[in-house]
Amino acid sequence: MTRKKRRLWVMLACGLGLGSATVLTLSAFRDTLVFFVAPSDIATKAPGLGRMFRLGGLVESGSLTRGMENNKPDARFRITDGGATVDVTYVGILPDLFREGQGVVTLGSLERDGTFRAQEVLAKHDETYMPKDVADALKKSGRWNPASGPPPPASTWNMLTPAKEAGG
């Protein structure tokens, strides 16, 4: 019995040590473990010119213009996080989920004029899943414009009879 108790205490002590070591390590690396930085992070602490990093945020509503450059699709848009905005240029094919109001993560570097030249654009999907008829009903009733940001809180549309509730 005492040996079992001792093993239990040794395990708890090891667990406590390992747990606090992990917490300290993770909090120390908190800023470097991010997959992307937001536009307001760049406003306060801009990475050096030509240094590659990932920039993430929402594609600002009404900012997207598409064109052609040397027979390649070319896009200009602004990425915002509500606080700050960064102009982005990208040459290449945008992912299917790319649209105004969508979260995106882009890999590239800052140019001298402050624009961000992206070499890769990834679309970030949010945690909302809804059928087309629910989305259409929300849009038609004027409660949500996908270009302006995330959908309204789920409790307002996700009822047991979704189509009817969302339309009303």
Partner: protein, 256 residues
């Protein structure tokens, strides 16, 4: 029955956990439970996947690609659940030296690794059309890959010693050290900026998924959960019986 006495801890009252320690009793209970576990697993998986893949509505922006969710999300849940079960077995094995927990840890490993692999593969297949990348090194994906390697390490370590008991001890310590990864997986999407989206289904607040997609997802999750139990139970029964046969053969060899 030399083997069963060799692996059975002393009987005590019938009220403590040791009630379930007796491999003979385990074999009897498991044999009765097996058809139910397998049956529920098959029925719920077929109903859930059929509903999800054929009848559930497509997502308004992801289209039909959203149906990968019905395999990806349950296997992701089971990847973490399996590791939690592995850790519980490891605690019981290290503190109470429970022979059934040793065997259970050995048998949970490959099943958990299988579900983790399924989660990584389906996630990759989903990531390419939606995000535009097969793989990114964000915190969620990386921590799940670490979980997969922890499973593989455990599988290799418990089988790496000539003396199986040393393998069980080493494997249990590895499994418990790896537990720190579980909260990292769960909260990675909240603590850091990741490409992977945060949780859709939370304890507090309404799920941000239409109910018409949520039902088949939950049925799939029940089916996969029971498939996990059915697989582990079948493997564990085989392991207990294998150990008995080995004990009998050794007893016969010693007697001859």
């Amino acid at each position: 029955m030399v083997a069963s006495t060799a692996v059975a801890p002393p009987q005590s009252g019938g009220r403590s956990l040791h009630r379930f320690a007796n491999p003979g009793r385990f074999l009897r209970i498991a044999a009765r439970a097996q058809p139910w576990l397998t049956g529920v697993a098959l029925v719920a998986s077929v109903v859930g996947l059929g509903w999800g893949l054929l009848f559930a509505p497509a997502d308004w922006q992801q289209g039909d690609a959203v149906r990968i969710m019905f395999v990806h999300v349950p296997s992701a849940w089971l990847a973490s659940f399996g590791y939690m079960a592995l850790a519980v077995c490891s605690v019981i094995s290290l503190i109470w030296r429970h022979p059934l927990a040793d065997l259970a840890a050995v048998e949970i490993g490959p099943v958990g690794a299988g579900f983790t692999g399924l989660c990584l593969v389906t996630g990759s297949l989903w990531g390419k059309p939606m995000w535009g990348a097969w793989w990114v090194w964000d915190a969620r994906l990386t921590s799940v890959l670490v979980l997969f390697f922890l499973y593989l390490g455990h599988i290799a370590l418990v089988r790496a010693f000539d003396d199986p008991v040393r393998g069980y001890r080493a494997g249990a310590i590895l499994a418990l050290v790896g537990v720190v990864n579980l909260p990292i997986i769960k909260f990675s999407v909240d603590w850091w900026n990741t490409l992977h989206q945060p949780a859709t289904i939370t304890l507090m607040g309404a799920p941000t998924m239409a109910v018409s997609m949520l039902w088949p997802l939950l049925i799939c999750a029940v089916g996969f959960q029971f498939a996990f139990f059915a697989l582990v139970t079948a493997r564990l029964r085989a392991a207990v019986m294998e150990r008995r046969i080995r004990g009998l053969l050794m007893a016969r060899a010693a007697g001859a």
